[in-house]
């Protein structure tokens, strides 16, 4: 029985991941003020179905977590609870946690149960708060609502950890970590906090995680870090001033949270003490002691006790719950709240913060949700509903590829028959040719249908961006609206998969370096909210994907200065705008003022270009300094067939991809020169291009050796142009690409091979590789 079930694991995981994508998209598109009931319902169904599958396959932790999630979703879809921004954020976190859990289970790796337990606890608290009330069970965390999320209500007080809710005053969320030398340099956080307290109401949560045991600590060094909430409408400069002297001796993050943002605070301290007592009562934890933020939960089998232990673990009086452990992880301390205050993205921090502040001793462990102003929801609509709302079946990619291959062979066979048909005489031949024409039409339809099977809408790749832009914008404190158009534009699955990373890089660049901070934008007469626009469309046999933003644009002068300082460009060289922009594709080139962990290390753009080129595409840039930038990636629709120009060289036929061809011409001897180091060159549109005699390069006996006897095909690759010398042009056709690597091995200058109608093999040229080979040969000569 187990063996049988295991056969379905892969399907379960695949469907679950897909369902989670749909859930995420639905959540991002949820209108918190007036949520669409059907959308909430569909989100519920995802949780329900994953829970059922997980239960059936014995994935208990997944089932348990999803059960809690399902309970919350049930409350929401029934209308017993309202969807709030904070709840929506928690649900998004749940998607992340479930993905991580499923990935771990799929890979047979340990699940990070601490994260799961913390978020599960939060979800239970939400239900307990918004539902019928606290449960009676002594060990249930619901009995001790240590972390409560609320949306509205009286402004939170910090004494005794009382009421919560949106404050009417904005606040500054400050993460302050002292570096060890801070105290030795005469700085004292007490003085800093005293200055801050003059600006407004200050609440302080201290993290002692890094403080060693007394006997081994260097008492002159500072090991503490703090999370501060300053309720004040004071200016940023005033907050900065408080830290002025200590700035070099600390890690500091200061975020503005506008009035109306949510707070996560704790309820009555007694509740958490009660939870700790409950945990002790069950024997799941041995002691609750000490002021330490690290805690070891009890036996992992008792999830409730874990939650209670985590709740009891705080920087307050009830800190370390220790007891028998069986591989359980430490609870996360209160100040694990993420540096930029987007604490709603970190349920762990929220639960610990909630627990910490619950003791009443440290009531102000506020984890603030991101402000509505700070992170406008992506404008994108979710992709078409997946999984269950269209009739479809799953087919493995190998089967599709086999099918495409077979159809490709059929096309070749049909071409051979057509060729034969042309040579026949007589009345029967005429009927035969008519039949063959019909066959050719059917084959073309079949080929197109089969190619379409592999085509998927680019929304599969675009769908990751709303969440990504939202989270990034929050982290950076920027306001960004993401627009997406053309999501239904289809392209080959392989191209789709490989274009993801380059697009991510370009979008991250736009968000990080393109769009300015809101105050800078307003100062420059722009709206505080920047726009990043992703668009895809078909353009003549290709797909064009555009990323444009209305940010600061590329600074040509800075790029040029950087290139000059690195010796990439001569001091007196004059470059066109396009040539300057091309510089950013050089490896390691970055003019970012500072490296963020988002981008700026200069390892991206060269990889972006390389990835695009490997797909047979290209990338172009245009920019308007101060106004914005555009990056356009052009890609072939599919990698399996190519439109090519057949050319003959001696007895061989080669295919030159049409996308590489600029022009074909016949040279006159007087337009050809010989330059030392470059060989033969000819004049073309004001430039001198090298001539590549294919028969010499490939070692073939050509029919035409004098240049005027053959033809020049002007082609480009890698941004460089050459003239290919061939005997004659044979015609244009669409050919099925056969892989060189799979059938022989990689050959520089050759992209693949195809079988022509007469059964002969023609090599498909790769211009970039060909130019490299030709350059090497010319230098060697």
């Amino acid at each position: 029985m187990d063996l049988d079930l295991a056969q379905f694991h892969d399907s379960f995981f695949e469907e679950s991941f897909e369902a989670l994508d749909g859930m995420e998209a639905a959540l991002l598109g949820l209108d918190v003020g007036a949520p669409d009931p059907e959308r909430v319902n569909s989100i519920f169904r995802v949780a329900h179905s994953i829970k059922g599958g997980a239960g059936m396959f014995g994935f208990k932790d997944v089932a348990s977590f999803t059960h809690t999630l399902e309970t919350l979703l049930d409350e929401l879809r029934s209308g017993r609870m309202q969807v709030t921004r904070a709840i929506s954020d928690q649900l998004l976190l749940s998607v992340d946690v479930m993905r991580a859990m499923l990935t771990s289970v799929q890979r047979k790796e340990p699940v990070d149960m601490q994260k799961v337990a913390d978020l599960q606890f939060d979800l239970e608290m939400i239900v307990a708060q918004g539902g019928a009330g606290a449960a009676a069970a002594p060990v249930a965390p619901a009995a001790a609502p240590a972390a409560v999320m609320n949306n509205g209500g009286a402004a939170g007080t910090t004494g005794g950890g009382g009421a919560l809710g949106a404050s009417n005053v904005g606040r500054w969320h400050i993460e302050f970590r002292a570096l060890p030398e801070l105290l030795l340099r005469g700085n004292d956080p007490l003085a800093i906090f005293s200055s801050l307290a003059e600006l407004g109401k200050l609440t302080v949560v201290t993290n002692m995680d890094a403080v060693p045991r007394l006997r081994s600590m260097d008492a002159e060094r500072c090991y503490l870090k703090w999370t501060l909430e300053l309720e004040s409408d004071c200016a940023r400069e005033q907050v900065d001033a408080a830290f002025e002297w200590a700035a070099v001796d600390c890690e500091l993050s200061i975020q503005r949270v506008e009035a109306g943002a949510l707070l996560v605070q704790s309820a009555a301290p007694a509740a958490v003490q009660g939870a700790a007592a409950a945990a002790l009562a069950t024997g799941a934890v041995n002691t609750v002691n000490g002021a330490t933020a690290g805690a070891q939960a009890a036996a992992p089998a008792n999830g409730a006790a874990q939650n209670a232990a985590a709740a009891a673990s705080a920087t307050g009086a009830a800190a370390a719950a220790s007891g028998p452990t069986q591989g359980a992880q430490a609870a996360t301390p209160a100040s694990a709240a993420p540096a930029n205050g987007a604490a709603s993205a970190n349920g762990v921090a929220q639960s610990a913060a909630g627990a910490a502040s619950a003791t009443g001793a440290a009531p102000a462990a506020n984890a603030t949700a991101p402000t509505p102003a700070g992170a406008p929801a992506a404008a994108a609509k979710p992709a078409d509903a997946k999984g269950g709302e269209h009739s479809s079946i799953r087919v493995s990619i190998e089967k599709i590829d086999e099918l495409i291959n077979t159809v490709g062979e059929l096309v070749i066979t049909q071409a051979m028959l057509s060729e034969l048909g042309r040579k026949l005489d007589g009345s029967v031949a005429e009927q035969f040719r008519t039949g063959l024409n019909q066959l050719e039409r059917n084959m073309r339809e079949l080929q197109e249908s089969v190619m379409r099977v592999r085509m998927l809408p680019i929304s599969f790749t675009f769908s990751r961006f709303p969440r990504m832009v939202r989270d990034l914008a929050q982290r950076l404190g920027k306001q960004i609206e993401l627009k997406m158009t053309g999501e239904q534009t289809e392209l080959d699955k392989t191209v789709l998969e490989k274009i993801g990373d380059p697009l991510v890089h370009l979008v991250r660049n736009s968000v990080d370096h393109g769009i300015e901070m809101p105050d800078v934008r307003v100062k420059n007469g722009k709206s505080a909210t920047g726009i990043v626009h992703l668009d895809a469309c078909h353009r003549g046999g290709h797909i064009a994907v555009e990323i444009r933003d209305d940010g600061g644009g590329l600074d040509k002068n800075r790029i040029l200065a950087k290139a000059r300082s690195r010796g990439l460009v001569g001091a007196n060289d004059v470059l066109t705008d396009e040539q300057v922009y091309e510089l950013i594709f050089l490896p390691g080139f970055s003019t970012a003022e500072k490296t963020t962990d988002v981008s700026g290390r200069g390892v991206g753009m060269d990889v972006v270009r390389r990835n695009v080129k490997e797909l047979g595409g290209k990338i172009e840039i245009s920019s308007d300094f101060g106004k914005g930038s555009r990056f356009i990636i052009t890609l072939p629709l599919t990698l399996a067939i190519v439109d090519g120009q057949s050319v003959s060289v001696g007895s061989e036929t080669y295919i030159v991809p049409l996308t590489s061809i600029i022009e074909s011409l016949q040279l006159q001897p007087q337009s050809v020169s010989r330059l030392s180091g470059r060989g033969e060159v000819f004049s073309f549109r004001g430039d001198y291009l090298p001539i590549v005699r294919l028969h010499e390069l490939f070692g073939i006996e050509a029919r035409a050796t004098a240049l005027h006897e053959g033809l020049i095909v002007v082609a480009e690759g890698d941004g460089r142009r050459i003239g290919l010398f061939v005997d004659e042009l044979l015609g244009q056709q669409q050919v099925v690409i056969k892989s060189m690597e799979a059938n022989y091995g990689p050959v520089d200058g050759v992209a693949g091979a195809t079988i022509l109608g007469d059964g002969s093999v023609a090599l498909i040229l790769d211009l970039s590789g060909l130019i490299r080979v030709a350059s090497r040969t010319a230098r060697a000569a």
Binding site: D188, T206, M208, R213, R215, A219, E220, T359, A362, A364
Partner: protein, 101 residues
């Protein structure tokens, strides 16, 4: 807290001015107290000056005591000490009441 305090051993630990200036000698004294057993009584009545270094050390001391399941009893505490502990967010860690500012 559900720790059963044992009988206090010896005299109370008297704090004068736990600051970075006197931190080394204070650390020595506290370490000696850690080697003993039983509840530690701390008298902070005389404290008129305290800084982050002093509070950090005291917080580490109280934490380590609790880890060894020993009690801490404040027999007296000056306003200055209490306010500073709360302002730094270490009031609860030291057992001196709510952190607030």
């Amino acid at each position: 807290m559900s720790v059963t305090p044992s009988a206090a051993s010896g005299s109370a630990l008297v704090l004068i001015s736990p600051t970075i200036r006197t931190i080394t000698s204070l650390q020595t004294e506290l370490a000696e107290r850690l080697d003993e057993s039983g509840t530690v009584q701390i008298d902070g009545t005389a404290v008129d000056r305290v800084d982050t270094a002093g509070l950090q050390l005291l917080a580490a001391f109280v934490r380590d005591l609790r880890a060894e399941m020993r009690g801490v009893e404040w027999v007296g505490c000056s306003d200055a000490l209490k306010k500073a502990a709360q302002a730094l967010g270490l009031g609860a860690a030291l057992g001196l009441g709510n952190d607030n500012s």
